[in-house]
Subunit: 505 residues, 2 copies
């Protein structure tokens, strides 16, 4: 028996070594991709694409090798001799392995080919401003996604299995409830805001000089607790966070001199993602216990910092005077409360990525309904422009003037990422629920935030969320932290309070 | 017969695919290393090291796989159906493959372990300023290098096989001739310079503001023909050139505000390396025909630009007025000829990397004699401090005040790079011979340089040197371009003319 234990331990080490090697390759891909978005000279793109493909192929071969499968099965059989975290790692890796093994090579090749086509069709459609250019290839993609659901198998709705790629445990039953709450509870709030006179935010669009913006962003990142010795910020077209290990987690931002908010909330948002990655266990590098729980939980971290903290009055009580000192010409005569109102302006609009934190969820809901409908045949790609525009009319009260500002605005479908969008809203709702728990569990939190001190909050997030990796699903984690599953009421309460105050409802 | 041809073509494509995949991994390693030297946050170093090791292991496994060996052997048997370049690629890849296959795994492991030890011993020895800390591990390294020579086999001197790692075809017979020329022909020149009053270079060490230096460096790189859409310059502690494909060749530099020359000649030197890499055939990516000929030829390109062009009066006739405009406070009253003298000052000194283009070769000669002597038993690591210091006394007339400024100054031996140093001198001598040929073959070259136009020169280098890759050895290439093998007389003529003029000999 002792011998079995020792042999299990040895095999577990072999498993760790293999997973770390695969992680090394995936992280190398991440470095190559980061470079692609930040510093790559233009002519380098073609060979860079080829280099990333080669590494991806190798990582895939290693992770789908029969050798790894046999090792995982044998460790799974001996799981009683492993500790809890190790046993969970084996369960998750075996799950990942079996899922990967289900895909026939022909399907993988077809999906890869179609994704490439689809992306280029989307680019061209946007150039021409015409959804019809995208539609035939999108139809092929949807057919493949239906096929993928069949290959992987599913319970209930075929969309569930795609959702689970991003958010394990999520399903249409849960999301129907959530987005029904959005519709029934947020719509009246939105309608009453629409009755009120709009707040002034013109001063946010004066000229905010580039270098001073940059310095302010770095100052915010440092204040949040982002470890600059284990990360860095650079400029890219679209802000993102990437991680090569918990000791090297990088963020990017962009600066628009006529839009103060653009860089500021990108820094705080990406900073939230980065704090999560910096908080993962370095000892678990390459293992499920060292990976983020899910996209929804990842997004909960970015949104908690961006919205619950970064758009709060308490946050700016500390940082606004600093900002006024940096930009006295723009903000010297603007009162804190007017600044606070401006950065929280609610106004239905066309573009998801520019939406405020209230109307944002209607944008997501539209995409959720469409994806679900495409998967079960309620909707067809041919009708998407109309479906899209009608939804926007009904819920956001806006008329979509062009496909580029409508059904063509997001890249996700062209990548075959169906099931991704809902995690954005889940992130906000988890964030509200987590932040409520933090406020209850951390006495004096508001006072700390007012004095620019986020140590306790970050410590709590590290302890409650970051360090667990994939050891719990998002549902499990939520119950563990807050004592109940995801409940929309926390977000509703937060939004009602905040916007009630701002708009005097 | 037609079938054989077609099957050979097919196998050649398989070979190309495998080599490209290996190149993709090696280039990914290069990206990770570039990042390590330029942007890596300090805590990221440990995981980065591990990631590079993982990729190196995979590249090594792929290149030493039995499958590749069989493929290469079969293509080598059918070489008569391949075109010249393809046949040469197979010859070279098979040579590389067989050489790799000679190393027993135990030797590779021992060498890797000792290299690691040796590097750390060197770091520690430098900290303590004491060669004795380094000596015992260096002795182990030398023993391993002797063993390596036996494993690989050699003709004549055991050092030859190590030289061939960097410069195929080089041997002690050739280098003894070359360095004998250095001793017999350059020593009298150096001695007569030492009799002359020294030129003034104090103005090169006034304050040269960082950003203006940077802009000047970029301007020089562009003037040389470095394609900024297929490369970029960044800052690192030690300047270097790295290539991820001919479409993405990057250089780095460093800026010392009190040493104008530091950045300027690093830009021109690395620019010369980079032009070579940008001139390699992208169609031959991953194949020997797409790789640099040798280190000596690589260095010939950097030194031709750095010295024959970049330290010439003609070059500065064009660029000096620009420089004076950038730094009027330092150079406004300095005449071109005085500037030219200052940047060509000859003065025996302690540190190789800071040496002028004449005394430099004595530094290399010392290392060559020591390496050769260590390999054949003439010298022993225990005596190196004394041997080193005596050489410096005899040839450079300087007294070495400390090991750090003496026998511990270079990193190469700690890496196990024996046979590398001579390529530096070979580079200068090839450069002089090539540049003489260019002057003969390109009418009006001097006038073009005087007007800042390097198009014809770069075109000639592309055609004569860059595009051939490893299809010729350095000897073959030299004969092809200049009609004779490497001949020291071209460098001697160049140096005698130039320094005779500067010092009025």
């Amino acid at each position: 028996m002792a011998q079995t234990t020792s042999s299990t331990a040895k095999r577990y080490e072999t498993y760790k070594g293999k997973m770390q090697q695969i992680a090394d390759i995936r992280n190398a891909i991440a470095v190559l991709s980061w470079d692609q978005e930040t510093y790559l000279p233009e002519k380098g793109a073609a060979f860079r694409g080829q280099q990333i493909t080669s590494l991806s192929t190798i990582a895939h071969e290693l992770f789908t090798s029969a050798e790894l499968g046999t090792l995982l099965e044998s460790l799974d059989n001996d799981r009683q001799t492993l500790d809890t975290v190790a046993a969970k790692n084996i369960t998750l890796s075996l799950e990942d392995y079996r899922k990967n093994a289900k895909y026939p090579a022909s399907f993988v090749a077809e999906l890869s080919k179609t994704t490439n086509e689809c992306y280029h069709a989307w680019i061209n459609a946007r150039k021409e401003g015409n959804y019809s250019v995208f539609e035939p290839v999108l139809a092929k993609m949807v057919a493949l996604k239906k096929q993928e659901a069949d290959i992987l198998g599913y319970e209930g709705h075929p969309y569930n299995t795609l959702l689970n790629e991003y958010e394990k445990g999520a399903n249409t039953a849960m999301l129907d409830t959530v987005f029904n709450d959005v519709k029934t509870a947020l719509t009246p709030l939105l309608r009453s805001i629409e009755q009120k006179p709009q707040v002034n935010k013109a001063f946010l669009h004066l000229r905010y000089e580039r270098d001073r913006q940059w310095n302010f962003g770095i100052q915010l990142l440092k204040a949040m607790g982002y470890d600059m010795a284990a990360g860095r910020q650079d400029i890219s077209e679209h802000p993102f966070t990437t991680s090569f290990s918990p000791q090297d987690v990088r963020v990017t931002t962009r600066i628009d001199e006529n839009d103060f908010g653009n860089m500021t909330w990108s820094c705080i948002h990406e900073g939230g993602h980065a704090l999560y990655e910096q908080g993962l266990d370095p000892e678990s590098y390459g293992l499920p216990s060292g990976e983020a729980t899910s996209l929804g939980i990842h997004e909960s971290q970015s949104r908690l910092w961006e919205n619950n903290v970064g758009r709060s009055l308490t946050f700016w009580e500390y940082h606004y005077p600093q900002l006024q000192q940096l930009f006295p010409e723009n903000l010297g005569n603007v009162q804190l409360r007017d600044f606070y109102k401006a950065i929280n302006l609610v106004q239905p609009s066309l573009i998801r990525t520019e939406a405020d934190e209230l109307t944002y969820h209607f944008h997501v809901m539209v995409r959720y309904e469409i994806e679900k409908g495409l998967l079960d045949g309620t909707y067809h790609t041919k009708d998407l422009r109309e479906v899209w525009n009608n939804y926007y009319k009904e819920f956001l009260h806006v008329t979509v003037p062009s496909d580029t500002q409508g059904v063509l605005q997001d890249i996700h479908w062209s990548h075959g990422s169906f099931g991704y969008f809902p995690t954005y809203s889940l992130g906000s709702f988890y964030a509200a629920q987590f932040f409520t728990a933090a406020q209850q569990q951390l006495p004096g939190l508001d006072a700390q935030i007012t004095s620019g001190d986020y140590t306790a909050l970050l410590g709590w997030l590290r302890q409650q969320v970051h360090r667990h990796g994939r050891s719990f699903t998002s549902n499990e984690l939520c119950e563990k932290i807050t004592g109940e599953p995801l409940n929309f009421k926390y977000f509703l309460h937060y939004a009602t309070q905040k916007f009630g105050d701002i708009y005097g409802l």
